[in-house]
Point group: C2
Chain length 329, copies 2
């Protein structure tokens, strides 16, 4: 490591929070951690690359937030309680201003969920952020993709398509003469949509609450229909989804016409909401969680035996499962 | 994720080994893992970027091996028993031939140490490999950097400078008219030195054996004197090192004159040997480990109270601690 790298690590180390279960954090060859008795360890790892996973003009603090958020979202989908993370930060040069800003966002979210940064590295390379998160679940209680049952209701949290809408607006604005075929109602970038792209909310509390209610769960990172498709495939079932039922934010409705909006909701990625399946007789329990959390939870379809994800709008017939909304892809 | 990304993940998933303590491996939002009762979790994370951490012409299998090896080396330095890893692989395009080769090396080393690949991601971006490894130690038995005691002997495993020698030869060969100031005895790249650069051996078994013998331990990744300096700083002590005692391979001796060789041994990185401190009355125990493992373990100096790492050659006086071999940097 270079002297600058040590300075960066010292800068990071000075700001990290501690937890009683961190026996040894940043500063040795590895971290020493104590998993509570009776708990299983839940581990997820995701990388963000500049220009691929976030626009080049994203603020360092937003990059920091998102790098942790997309990982915490994976823990949320398992119903896990977050505990620790490690961070590998590759930068073209040791840029202390960038690191300070990055940590502002990263540690703000870490603090919200009592996550301790316990190790990792900083290296020279194209801007790239890799995070590994660790959490716990009681043995046998993790939410999984492969547990959906025929007849389950399909639910989704929050609103869909906002992040994709924000990205679409950014593209329209920055790509000169861009021919996306999208109609922007207002011609500028909506800060609410951009915030959903830059600062997604990992649904940790929801995931914990769903542990005893939901059968299967996945986070919406690739797009609602795509991720529901993964859940169905893992569970050996299929799904029918009412496209008109997909929840939309006021900001999304204001920014795009219905056709574009529904494409964004159905296929846009980066929402980091939770999509989960629940037996119909547990609808009241889901509604109670929604009220308790003051978070919209919407029934959007049902699990069926036929593989694939079939879709329809209120007035339309069911699509062939395989077709789905692929023509929007 | 793209279709190609799913294909890559399916390719990886088909080849990974299983362990009984992996409740849920690749394929869900996160892995579910069972840490054995009474054990602490040991976690390390390191990234390799193309052109920074390995020459651009490195074979995919060697990149795979090294990406895991540098991480396992961190576990070795803690005396930990490896168990699981996650892998984040960024590539300019979904290159199945690269991934197959990469896995050949990565999984060959994983298999040697019974490490299960349990998750991660593949993404688009400049070639970069981030690995997180997980291992166990009995609570309270981890080797640490901060436990060296005044009067301890300083030991190092194997030979030093080979990887840096291999890198130096590669540079001499590939940089036309390169002015490194080094004298190559034979003018070509020594395969043994290059192998030490490409396929380092994580000293897992040695780390386990040293748990009850050594006071402090670190792996040699930045260079012998630099890493010993980290150990001393963490322990609040200093060190005297006899440069003539640093172990050299026959290949290194054959390839470089003494001055260059000693610089490579003292300051070259990427050796991934273990440097550790042991009370003088435990020399026989260290020798027994060396015999048992058929691995050279060499006493190279002593821990002193004065901070910094002082060096000398057999006929020379001690350098000022701060100076050390900095002029070689």
């Amino acid at each position: 490591m270079s002297t600058r790298e040590f300075e960066l690590i010292a800068r990071i180390r000075a700001r990290v929070a501690l937890r009683d279960d961190v026996v040894l954090g940043i500063g040795d060859d590895a971290a020493l951690l104590q998993v509570p008795a009776g708990q299983q360890l839940v581990v997820a790892m995701d990388t963000l690359n500049a220009g691929v996973h976030f626009p080049e003009d994203t603020a360092p603090a937003d990059i920091g937030w998102k790098a942790l958020a997309v990982n915490l979202s994976d823990l949320a989908a398992m119903g896990a309680q977050p505990a620790w993370c490690t961070l590998s930060l590759s930068m073209p040069e040791a840029d202390t201003a960038f690191v300070d800003g990055f940590l502002d966002g990263f540690l703000a979210l870490a603090s919200q969920h009592d996550v301790a940064l316990v190790g990792g590295d900083t290296t020279r390379g194209p801007l790239s952020i890799c995070v590994t998160v660790h959490g716990f679940v009681e043995a046998g209680t993790a939410l999984r993709r492969d547990a959906a049952r025929i007849g389950d209701d399909i639910w989704v949290s929050g609103t869909l398509g906002d992040a994709a809408g924000g990205l679409q607006q950014w593209r329209e604005r920055t790509v000169k003469g861009g021919q996306s075929g999208l109609s922007l109602a207002n011609g500028h970038s909506d800060p609410l949509l951009r915030a959903r792209l830059d600062r997604p909310t990992p649904r940790i509390v929801l995931g914990r609450a769903l542990q005893s209610i939901a059968h299967a769960c996945i986070d919406v990172s690739d797009g609602q229909l795509a991720d529901l498709g993964h859940l169905c495939k893992a569970s050996g079932v299929g799904a029918q989804v009412n496209i008109d039922a997909l929840p939309a934010s006021e900001a999304l409705c204001a920014a795009f016409d219905q056709q574009v909006r529904q494409r964004l909701q159905a296929t846009g990625g980066d929402d980091y909401e939770l999509c989960f399946t629940v037996a119909p007789d547990a609808r009241a329990a889901v509604d109670a969680v929604a009220r308790e959390m003051e978070l919209e939870l919407t029934r959007i379809g049902v699990i069926i035996a036929t593989p694939g994800v079939a879709t329809r709008t209120a007035e339309g017939a069911w699509s062939a499962p395989a077709a789905g909304w692929v023509h929007f892809g």
